[in-house]
Structure formats: C-alpha cells, structure tokens
C-alpha cells in the first residue's frame, strides 16, 4: 500500500509543525525587533515552498526510490554514502532534540521534579514501536493526531481572541524591510522540513502530486504560524513576547474561562501538543532508520534498535533548553542548507544526465 496525496500532506504538516510554534514569536521578534514577524512567516513559507518543490521534483525523477538509493546513481557511491550519512545524522539529531524539548516542556509544566530520563525514555520507546511498523502505520497515526491537535490548537487560539489587541501589530514595516529579512532567520528555521520530501516521495501513490501535497502542507503550516504570531504579539506586544521563553504557552495561560471544565488551558494543550512532538520525532526517527538500513544494507528493525541508545545520548547532551535552541538553530542553518545545496546539485546532475520524469 502506498501513501495517498492527503496522507503525504498530513505527514509533512506533522513533521514541520512541532516545537517551533511554541517559541516562534519570541525567536522571530528577537531577530526582527518589529511586530512584522507575520510577514516573515509568509515569506519563509514561500521560501520553504520553493525548496519543497525543488526537492519533490528531484525525488519525482526516481519513483519508488529514496534519496539514499538514488543519490549513488548521480554522484557515485562514496559521495552518496557521505551525503546519506549526513542526512541520517541530521534526522537523528532532529528526533533526539525533539524528544529533548518534549522533556523540557513536560518537566516544566506537567511533571515538576520527575527526572528527565524517566520522562524521555518511555517516549523514545513508544516512538520506536511505531517506527518499527514502517511508513504506513506512521502515516495512519499521524492522520489521527493531526485533526485532534489542529482543532484543539485552533479552538484555544480562538478562545484567546478577546485578549488580543491588533493595534500591537502596527506599524507594518515601520522600520522598512530590513527587520523582516532579519526575522526570517528565525522563521525559516520554523519551516525546516522540505528535506523530508527526499524520502516521502518514494512511498507515494502518485509521485507527481508530491508538489501539490507539499504546497497544501506548507499552506496549513503557514496558517498555524500566522495565527500563532498574530495572537501572541497581539496579546503581549513585542516587548512582552521577548521576555517569555514560551510565549505561546503563556498566551494560553493569560485567559481564563470560568464555568468550563478546565481552568488552565496551557497544561491541557501541552498534553495534546506532546502528540505533535511525537510526530516530528517519529518521522525523523523513521527517516534516519531507513537511511541506515538502506545505506549500510542492514535490516530495518536492527537500524531502528541500534539508534535508540544514540538518540538517548544526543538527547542528554545539551545542558539546558537554551542549548537545545542553539543547536537547533545551527542545525537548521547548516544542516538544512547543506541538504538543500546538495539536493540542488543532484537535480542539476540529473538534468545534465537527462533523466526525465517517469511517465506514470
């Protein structure tokens, strides 16, 4: 069974949308210094879309093959092996960091005093169990997670409408376009994720609609980020946003609806949002396991289990959440950049070699 186009779109959405949404307003405002970050979000979305389309096009040239398999045909075995290893490490670090931010948030808001390893270990195991099933079960689980998390997030955001003051978003481009470009440094990181197309397209029923799936996914993700940025900046103003580590969570804290079952929404939505962390973690875990097994010809199950201790090790490396963000920044700049550059080179070589889209 292959992935349908909506399934692919949901996979991409769940992969892109995770930790970033909780911190995006702060990191973006810190870079930009103006309330224009919603423009940064839009532009970064566009940028991400362009990259996603390029990568989908590249993968579409080799139906049924992941980048680990077809890279060798373009640039030779050893360079391809090196590139594949970089990607495996990249995905491993992403999934480990995702587990780490989950651990940080959980121990801060839900389980104070519980040791970090106790929080993260069952999380890693549950992920490994899902990843062992392969891409179809992952996709099915994501299909369930997406509407639950999406609807509850939107609902909570809508509940906060009455504390939002849109005047705080003004002036638009008060200091010209330069802060917008600066802010994009942060927002672009939130949109890192096109690289997953290098793997997903191989499993699609119709590889040709990969671009369409990606466009829809980026559209949804942009919408979520936009709502998030507008709401948080509209509530706290830019000064308030920079002062908070988790501005989105604080937004949910800032209002109270008497008479409803829950009093503080942030814990509820955090509990729900754990599923999103789980999605990103699981899909990058899958991507790295698949890479390991395809590059080094080891059984897939072995690849999954072999990584588990390493994921845990990477997970405990950063001393504090600030380090996680730093590594993440670096990773999104260097890692994503590297992958994108290589991918563009691959596409160029493919064009030179005259490999055409397979007629399906």
């Amino acid at each position: 069974m292959k992935l349908t186009t909506p399934q692919t779109a949901v996979l991409i959405i769940n992969y892109m949308l995770a930790t970033a949404i909780l911190v995006l307003p702060r990191t973006a405002v810190q870079e930009a210094g103006t309330p224009d970050i919603w423009i940064c979000v839009l532009l970064s979305g566009l940028l991400s879309l362009v990259f996603g389309l390029i990568l989908s096009r590249l993968s579409g040239l080799f139906p049924g093959e992941t980048v680990y398999q077809y890279a060798g045909k373009l640039i030779g075995r050893w360079p391809a092996c090196f590139f594949g290893t970089v990607m495996v490490v990249y995905f491993m670090v992403i999934s480990a960091l995702e587990a780490r931010s989950l651990q940080e948030i959980t121990s801060k808001f839900l389980l104070e005093g519980t040791p970090g390893w106790a929080i993260v270990m069952p999380f890693l195991w549950v992920g490994a169990y899902l990843v062992l099933g392969g891409i179809q079960p992952i996709s099915r689980a994501f299909d369930v997670i997406f509407p639950i998390t999406g609807l509850i997030f939107l609902a909570v955001m809508m509940l906060s409408v009455h504390v939002v003051d849109l005047h705080r978003l003004l002036p638009v481009m008060g200091q010209g376009p330069l802060p917008v470009l600066k802010g994009m440094r942060a927002t672009a990181f939130a949109f890192s994720g096109p690289e997953i197309m290098l793997i997903l397209v191989a499993f699609m029923q119709k590889p040709k609609s990969a671009g369409k799936a990606f466009a829809v996914a980026v559209g949804v993700v942009t919408l979520f980020y936009l709502i998030d940025c507008v709401m948080t900046v509209g509530t706290f103003s830019i000064d308030g946003v920079t002062a908070r580590t988790w501005p989105t969570i604080d937004l949910m804290r800032s209002f109270e609806l008497p008479g409803l079952l829950f009093e503080r929404y942030e814990s509820l939505i955090l509990a729900i949002w754990i599923m999103k962390f789980f999605s990103t973690y699981a899909l990058s875990y899958y991507a790295s396991s698949l890479g390991l097994s395809q590059l080094f010809r080891i059984p897939y199950r072995t690849a999954v289990f072999v990584q588990l201790p390493f994921l845990f090790l990477i997970n405990v490396l950063p001393a504090a959440i600030e380090d996680v963000f730093k590594i993440w920044d670096l990773l999104s700049m260097a890692g994503t950049g590297f992958i994108l550059v290589i991918a563009v080179i691959l596409l160029g070589i493919a064009a030179l070699k005259g490999i055409k889209h397979a007629q399906s």
């Binding site: 839900l110 389980l111 999380f123 008497p258 829950f262 009093e263 509990a271 729900i272 754990i274």
Partner: protein, 501 residues
C-alpha cells in the same frame, strides 16, 4: 496420519472388508470393543436372509429407517424373490428416500457410523449401504443473549451448522451467496463453512481466509473462538481482529459489505473477517432505526469508549498530579472528598475498579434471578459502605460507576472486555506520569492500532487513511439514501448497493 484409517484394524480378524457377511460382522463386532456405543441390530428379511444395522445409539435417527426397512425388507412374506431382487429393491427405494451411498471401504464405513450414519449390511451383498441418519441435535432458535437489540430480528444462530447456513439462505434468494465447506481438526474433524458474496468480496480475500483456515493444525476446534485466535493477524494484541456474532442479520450485512463469514459446526458464534475498530462499536440497530437516533447513539457509543478508557486514569492524574488544572471549586470538592481516604488515588481506584469487575463477573455466572440482585447489593451497598467507612471518596464511586456503565454500551461484549483491560493500563500510566502518562498511553495505543491490520485492512480504517466517503457511516450514520456505496476500505468489487446510477 490416522485421519482416514478410522481406528486400527482389530487384531486377529482380517482387517479389510470382504464379500462375506459373517466376516464383515466379525469386523464390526471387533471394532465395538473400542466403540462401545455402536449398536448392532440383526434381523431377518424376506427369504430368511440375514441383515444387520450398525449405528451409534442416540446419534442416528432410526425412526425413518425403521419405517422404511420394516415395510420394505422386514416382511418375510413379501415376494421379492431372489437375492438379486432384494438388492434391487434396496438400491431402488432407499437412496431415493434418504441420502445413501454404497461402500466397501471399512475405514469409511466405521467413520460414517461414528458420525451418525447407519450402515446396512446384508447377507449376500459385498457392499454396505450407508444411510444418512444424523439426528438434528438442536435447540429451538432463540434471541441472541450477547447482542440484544430493541428493533430487529429476534433470531440467533444455534449449534447446528446446517441450520445456521439455512438461516443465512432463508434471508432471501441470493444467487451470488457462496458457501464453501472446509474440514479442520486432527483428532475430531469439524466442518467450517465460509460464506461470502461472489460479486462483492474483495479479490483474494476468500483465498486468504481459506489459506489461513487450511493452515490450522489442531486436534479439535471446540468453538469459533479457536478459529478466531488461530487465524488472526496479531495474537498478542488486546484487540480482536475478527468480529464474532450470533446474529444472522449481522453476517448478512457483513458479507454484503464485502467481508467473509466463517461458520463453525457446533457453535452459535459466527465470525466475520476482516474487522476494524469501528465495526465493533456499531450495532445492526443503527441501521434499523431512523438515521437521527442511529447517528446520535453512535456518537454516544464513541463517547462511552473514551469515558470507559480514560475516566479513571484522568481521575488519578488530576487528583495526584495536577489538581491545579481543574477549576478551583471542583478541585476543592474533590480534594475535600478525599480527605481521610488512607490510600493514594491509584490504590483507591484499583480497589473500586477491581471490585466492580469481580461483581460483574459474579453477576454473569449467577442464575438470572440472582444476577441483578447481586449487582444492586454490590454496587449500591458496597459502594455506599466504602464511602461511609472512608476507604474511598464518593467522587471515585461516581467515576467507577460511570466507567462500568459505559463499558456496557459497547454492543460487542468482547470489545467491551478489551476496553476494560486497557483501562487498567491507562490507570497505571496515569499513576506513574500523570497527564503525560495518559498522553503516552494514548500514543502507545494509537501506535498499536495504527500498526494493526486485519486481513490486509488497516484496523483504524475507515477513519484513517482519510476516506471521506466512508465517513458517512462512521461516527454518524447518515440517511440510507446517502449511503449508496459500500465502504471503500473493504475494496468491494461492486461498489453500489443502491440504484446503480
């Protein structure tokens, strides 16, 4: 393989059937040493010739035989003439009245006798005549106990395979309804009937079912639960991947969706494969009622599933980990009610949940008039006394009662059991990690359900992967005129169930 030899040949006697009546009689007599339930009835037919009936007492229905034989053969004055004439008369009359076959295969004859046929041996005839005299050992058709409906047919399957297949056939003239017979069992052979619609069922599904049933190698299949457990995809899963039902209308509805029904001789429980999670929460009644009540009741059932699974876990999570999450007044009243309770909330909840499980199991085994009384004594008196004694908090009694009641809403009893088991897992997760534990539990459950498949159909379908067309008959049951197509996740050959337009 002693499957066909039907018992070892008696020592000392020549083991093969022969033309000699006396030798054949000796052969059967000898076999009666280990088959004491076989009866031999010798009598004399016309012209003083010896004849003998061999049958198992109680299993074979002798009334028909008696009438027949006595009227045709037993009359010594009848003028049938020579031995050839008798044989001719028997050959002519008997097979036309009840099923009969001639055989000289000793093993076959012995096997058939033991499964209810009657063998007629006659002096001068080399073959034995095997008469199909199996008595129908059935009870009357009753309403299924485990799947009661308010509206709908009141007939349930019974223990006889012939009667069950007849029940399915009697649904109406169905030229495409196919039934295939298989025989399974190493020591005790039993018949299994596979029922499907030739024009609807997904290509390859019947072959898969047959392949899996043929692979069963076990001494005996006492109940269809054995078949279920031996052919399901994942025997470690707490979820049943094959639906069981006592209701013929459910089997009919199932095969019309493109599924395969499996009927085993000797049990009123038929199986339907593949099964998905949503099917276990549906009841035939959803379709018999009008769509609005049908839909609302379905929603209620889905809500009950969530309540049954998570309420005790959430109670534990909120009281021991996050009292701040619930409104202050509610938190105060819950904490206030827990004042003086000497146990942590996990122990408190476990005590109550386990005792209600005990009550339920006890009520099930008791005779009908006592069962409800047990429930009242247990539920009301013990619960009240426990609160009075200060062992548990009154809020917990509410939680436990609601959980227990909601698990009864699941129309499929065995699916309800799954939820009852998982509830305890959820409670332990909640006691370890609070709300985070509950989410982890949900994720683990989700991962498991996402991985599970039943005969190639994802267990979570039609919910995921997204099939908007099938959602019309999932959480809601939209009006019948809108449900013109069969569920697509079962990939039926013929999609349309209403006007092929």
């Amino acid at each position: 393989m002693s499957r066909e030899s039907g018992g070892s040949a008696p020592a000392g006697v020549e083991s093969s059937w022969s033309g000699s009546y006396v030798r054949n009689m000796a052969l059967i007599r000898k076999s009666m040493e280990t088959n004491a339930d076989i009866k031999l009835r010798a009598f004399t037919i016309s012209h003083g010739r010896e004849a003998c009936l061999a049958y198992v007492d109680g299993l074979a229905d002798l009334k028909a035989i008696d009438m027949l034989l006595l009227s045709k053969l037993g009359d010594p004055t009848s003028d049938e003439g020579s031995i050839e004439n008798v044989e001719l008369a028997v050959r002519r009359t008997l097979p036309s009245i009840i099923g009969a076959a001639w055989s000289d295969d000793y093993a076959l004859i012995l096997n058939r006798i033991r499964s209810g046929s009657t063998a007629l041996l006659m002096d001068g005839l080399s073959q034995a005549l095997l008469l199909e005299t199996v008595k129908d050992q059935t009870r009357s058709l009753e309403e299924p106990i485990s799947e009661a409906v308010l509206r709908g047919p009141r007939i349930g399957f019974c223990e006889s395979l012939q009667l069950n297949t007849a029940l399915l056939r009697s649904a109406g003239e169905a030229p495409n309804m196919a039934m295939e017979k298989m025989t399974v069992g190493r020591e005790i052979r039993k018949e299994i009937m596979i029922v499907y619609m030739t024009d609807i069922v997904r290509a390859g599904l019947v072959e898969e079912v047959k392949k899996r049933i043929a692979a069963i190698d076990i001494d005996h299949l006492p109940e269809s639960g054995y078949v279920e457990q031996l052919v399901e995809d994942n025997f470690l899963s707490p979820f049943q991947q094959i639906q069981n039902t006592e209701r013929p209308d459910r089997v009919i509805a199932g095969i019309l969706e493109g599924r395969v029904g499996i009927l085993l001789d000797g049990t009123p429980f038929a199986l339907l494969a593949p099964a998905t999670f949503s099917m276990l929460i549906q009841s035939p009644e959803d379709y018999y009622d009008r769509w609005l009540p049908g839909s609302l009741i379905r929603l209620l059932r889905f809500a009950s599933v969530v309540i049954c699974l998570l309420t005790p876990a959430l109670y534990i999570a909120f009281t021991s980990f996050h009292p701040g999450l619930i409104p202050t007044k509610l938190a105060l009243s819950i904490i206030g009610a827990r004042q003086g309770v000497p146990f942590p909330s996990l122990i408190e909840t476990l005590i109550m949940e386990v005792s209600i499980e005990i009550l339920r199991e006890a009520g099930l085994r008791l005779p009908k008039p006592i069962g409800p009384a047990m429930g009242i004594v247990g539920g009301l008196i013990i619960g009240d006394a426990a609160v009075q004694a200060g062992i548990v908090s009154p809020i917990l009694v509410i939680v436990v009662a609601i959980t227990a009641i909601s698990s009864f809403v699941i129309p499929q009893y065995s699916a309800g059991i799954t939820l009852r088991i998982l509830r305890f897992a959820a409670m332990i997760c909640a006691a370890t990690f609070g709300l985070y534990g509950v989410v982890l539990f949900i994720l683990l459950l989700l991962a498991h359900l996402a991985r599970l498949e039943s005969f190639g159909v994802p267990y979570l379908s039609p919910l995921v992967p997204y099939r908007p067309r099938d959602w019309k008959d999932l959480l809601l049951r939209l009006p019948l005129p809108l449900l013109r197509k069969r569920p697509s996740f079962l990939s039926p050959q013929n999609e349309f169930r209403e006007d092929n337009g």
